[in-house]
Symmetry: C2
Amino acid sequence: MTEFGLSPIQATARDDAVLKALAGFVMQEALGPGQRLPTERILAERLKVSRNTVREALTRWEGLGLVERRQGSGTYLKGVVSLDMLHMPLTLAGGNDFTSLMQTLEIRRALEAEAAALCAVRAGQAEIAEIARKLDIMEQAFHTRAGMSAEEDWEFHQSIYRASGNPLFEQIIAAMHELFHRFWEHPLGVRDFGHASFPYHRTIYERIAAHDPEGARAEALKLIATVEDDLKRGAAKLKLSGQK
Amino acid sequence: MTEFGLSPIQATARDDAVLKALAGFVMQEALGPGQRLPTERILAERLKVSRNTVREALTRWEGLGLVERRQGSGTYLKGVVSLDMLHMPLTLAGGNDFTSLMQTLEIRRALEAEAAALCAVRAGQAEIAEIARKLDIMEQAFHTRAGMSAEEDWEFHQSIYRASGNPLFEQIIAAMHELFHRFWEHPLGVRDFGHASFPYHRTIYERIAAHDPEGARAEALKLIATVEDDLKRGAAKLKLSGQK
DNA sequence: ATGCAGAAATTGGTTGGACCATTGAGCCAT
DNA sequence: ATGGCTCAATGGTCCAACCAATTTCTGCAT
């Protein structure tokens, strides 16, 4: 099969046209997350298409998590949209079981290590200071609330992804985090989940502040390893207690 | 065309219910990629919902890349569908420029290295044989077609992702690959793009076959490094020629 | 004036029916 | 066989309602 370099043309593509126009409108009006966009009826009238077409277009955006619809209220932006957006929908088979969590952790291990290394190379004074701030907040929360610092923990890691200079790290891991939110919070009933990982947050920060990419990578790998251990302990506990 | 195993829907949240019922139907009938599923009119009748509702539900799946609709023909499955699917749609800002490509390469570097290492640990005889087969095909195509072996190259990497035992690797990288398809093919006008990476395919395979995870990781990193170099060369060339 | 319950308007969700555009299968003349 | 034709099937779009949740307005009692 030879390559002709030709793509099939699309005769009818009203949905896409609607989304393109809407994206242009959003940019023009400089709308951000939380803002409400025009009602379906108005969009249909302005764009000279049926309300049904508008709805199918918005359904696409909703499925992509870009927009949230509230009956009786309106349609609201949930993220930043731009004309040159690229979509990368992933669907993972298998539910919220041990295997799925373990698989996401393998992805996170790869990305976390790389992000920490890149961060150690690229982070400037401001980024390092921000990471230090998040680390302090997390450590204080950890001590005052006896280890319940999931939210602060997450924000610490986010600050590293941001300082990596590549927004894809944050986006991919954030999507996984949102997906397994309940499990990152109270995974599998292990009460002291995450305790073992605590000291490595500071060591990661130190290696980043010292601009030592391989050191940061190594500490990040240690952190993920403790999480994997916790997960395995939780799975073993579950097995003992007879749950499937 | 008599029995569909579909039962009517009752409460609100119709479209979600439609998708759940449809997913159940797909599993029950053991439908796989490429297969055609019932027409919208039949689904609407069987589920006792309006055709518009069916369409919105299918629009969701289409946006997620699970399904492909062909006017006049039907709606066809594009991937594997199951009841306990989880969706992780990512939307990346920024277009098909040099920076975006470089950022996806950083993600690919992290994942490719980890996948190769995992593969070296987990791949069995059958998986290794499959990788060897893809490698042979790629090398032959490379020699007979003077380096134009993008498709075979991609299939070689896919076989590694599959043998890693974690489907997320293949899904994430496949999504990026599809996204930047034109650029992976003829990136930035560099004619011998990918030539430098050629020898590392075999070295990666050898480390995997020897069950040497760190060796496989190292070779994978070398391969990505050559691609990054090609990309930088292409960008420099573009800069010289005055294009933006 | 103020507070609040109920009415009214707004907005997304659903329905049913109609028609258009594309596809594919069957048929027929060549 | 080949090419062109019809015609039924199927997804794409449109319209005009109505339903359900939410918000806003209104008017009465305090």
